[in-house]
């Protein structure tokens, strides 16, 4: 247990020392928040059923962070660790393989939580954020969404031949998804035919679920999102346990 705690803490420090990952997880979502907050403010508008632009952006940007840490962060870190032999060296110690993977999940989860916490804090302090949901519902949905995207990241990390391809493929998957899922900009702004395509993107369901629970909708109104994301988590965990490679 002491090894697990120390290893996790070390990986957290390393995450914060990697400027690109820390920027996109912690700083970039805040920059988006302040940019669009300055442009649109947070006045209630009929387009968002009486909520302001910031009110609906916070759950959407949270989805963006989940996508960043899962598809970009995990994929790039794990495929680089594998390619460089960092994982090989760890495997030669008594540290158990599951401990290594669990620590990676904890680190990336903690960073995702901090990213969201910063958003909520900034929204509260600067834009008088409105939240009508149940904090436990949001927390549960946040955990489900995060874990299902981490399992995607582990699949990618396992099948990418090099860290470089991991990075490129991660970006090719992530960036279109960012803009077509409602995470980067509200789905309401997208034309109908694009929105139909959006339903095929897993991140869209993260946005829909988090936004719905944020404004006080119940889980029963979001069974399809729940089923899709839970299936993604189960299938992703099964596939990645088969495809994950240590070297």
């Amino acid at each position: 247990m002491q090894a697990f705690i120390k290893y996790t803490w070390t990986e957290i420090k390393l995450f914060l020392r990697e400027p690109v990952g820390a920027f996109f997880t912690l700083a970039f979502p805040l920059m988006m928040l302040f940019l669009f907050g300055t442009i649109y403010g947070n006045e209630p508008t009929p387009m968002f059923n009486g909520y302001g632009s910031i009110d609906v952006s916070i759950p959407a940007y949270t989805a963006m962070i989940i996508g960043t840490t899962g598809i970009l962060g995990l994929t790039i870190t794990m495929s680089a660790y594998r390619e460089k032999g960092v994982l090989r060296r760890l495997r030669a110690t008594p540290l158990r393989p599951h401990t290594i993977l669990a620590a990676q999940v904890v680190v990336i989860f903690v960073m995702t939580v901090i990213g969201m916490a910063l958003l909520v804090l900034a929204g509260n302090l600067v834009y008088d954020l409105r939240f009508d949901g149940n904090p436990f519902d949001i927390a549960a949905a946040f955990i489900l969404c995060s874990l299902s995207f981490f399992s995607l990241g582990f699949i990618l990390a396992g099948v990418m031949p090099t860290a470089r391809t991991g990075q490129v493929v991660g970006m090719v998957i992530f960036y279109p998804m960012l803009f077509l899922s409602g995470a980067g900009l509200p789905l309401e702004l997208l034309p109908d035919n694009v929105r139909q395509f959006s339903n095929f993107l897993p991140l869209t369901h993260v946005v829909t679920l988090l936004r719905g629970l944020w404004v006080g909708e119940s889980w029963s109104q979001h069974t399809s999102e729940f089923i899709i994301l839970s299936s993604l988590l189960i299938v992703g965990a099964l596939i990645s346990s088969k495809t994950f490679r240590w070297e």
Binding site: A3, T10, L14, P94, L95
Partner: protein, 310 residues
Amino acid sequence: MKTIIQVNELRKTYQKTVAVDGVSFEVMEGEIFGMVGPNGAGKTTTIECIEGLRKPDGGAISVLDLDPSRQERQLRPLLGIQLQEANLPDHLKVWEALDLYTSFYPRTLDWEELIVGLGLLEKRNTAFGKLSGGQKQRLFIALALLNDPPLVFLDELTTGLDPQARHAIWALVEDVRHRGKTVFLTTHFMEEAERLCDRVAIMDNGKIVALDTPENLIGSLGIEERIIFKVDGAYPIEILSKVPRVTRIETMQDEIVIYGRANDSDDHPPLVTDIVTIMAAEGIRFIDLRTEQPNLEDVFLTLTGRQMRS
């Protein structure tokens, strides 16, 4: 003496390539055992099967009376491992790496004392990515010694290092043995094996082609020492060929190469003494005289018909 590692008919195949093809040997307590051979000979596969990092396709391995593929958990804390291709995260500092790896083992040495001996103390706050090749290797040696293991594996320890760093690492390995540990190392530098190892297994194409002390390997094959020089004027071949122990003489361009049996006892003066004495007595003027002692490179050449470095 106690047997620390026992390998019997080890086999390992990758797809269609046979990496290790029926290898058997034993490593005794307290010795430095070396496995030498060209890249691709199967050294790393062998060492990684013994370390329990790869599953053999056939054969039996016993390490400290444990089976590495079935009793990996019991074995891990007892082994010190330096891998051929491994890294730490670039941003991880030296002290953090040692502190982290300390937490993985039930019992460890004080890492601060360890890195004083390895000359890394002033680098304790340096990130791994900023270390030189030699410093990285010294850190990996520190990590391999951290748990005070009775058995240490060093895989291609000095590959990629300059000669100065290499000699510094050799001194460290000898120091490890003086602490009473058993060392299993692989290298493709014959000089390294000759200098460090008590016994050497020469590997080629997945098989052990010879296994003995470096002296016996060199002595047993009747490999000759060479005395090479240039002369002014006539080549005094007839006189020199009558010197005892000289087996043959070749002339190559302007150089004369005398082959003779290597000195197998201390009773005789070195062959070069006889040659020089006779040439001085005959008034033959020679220049650029040098001798070449037989070494493990010659053993490999004799056994396989190939140069090690091809």
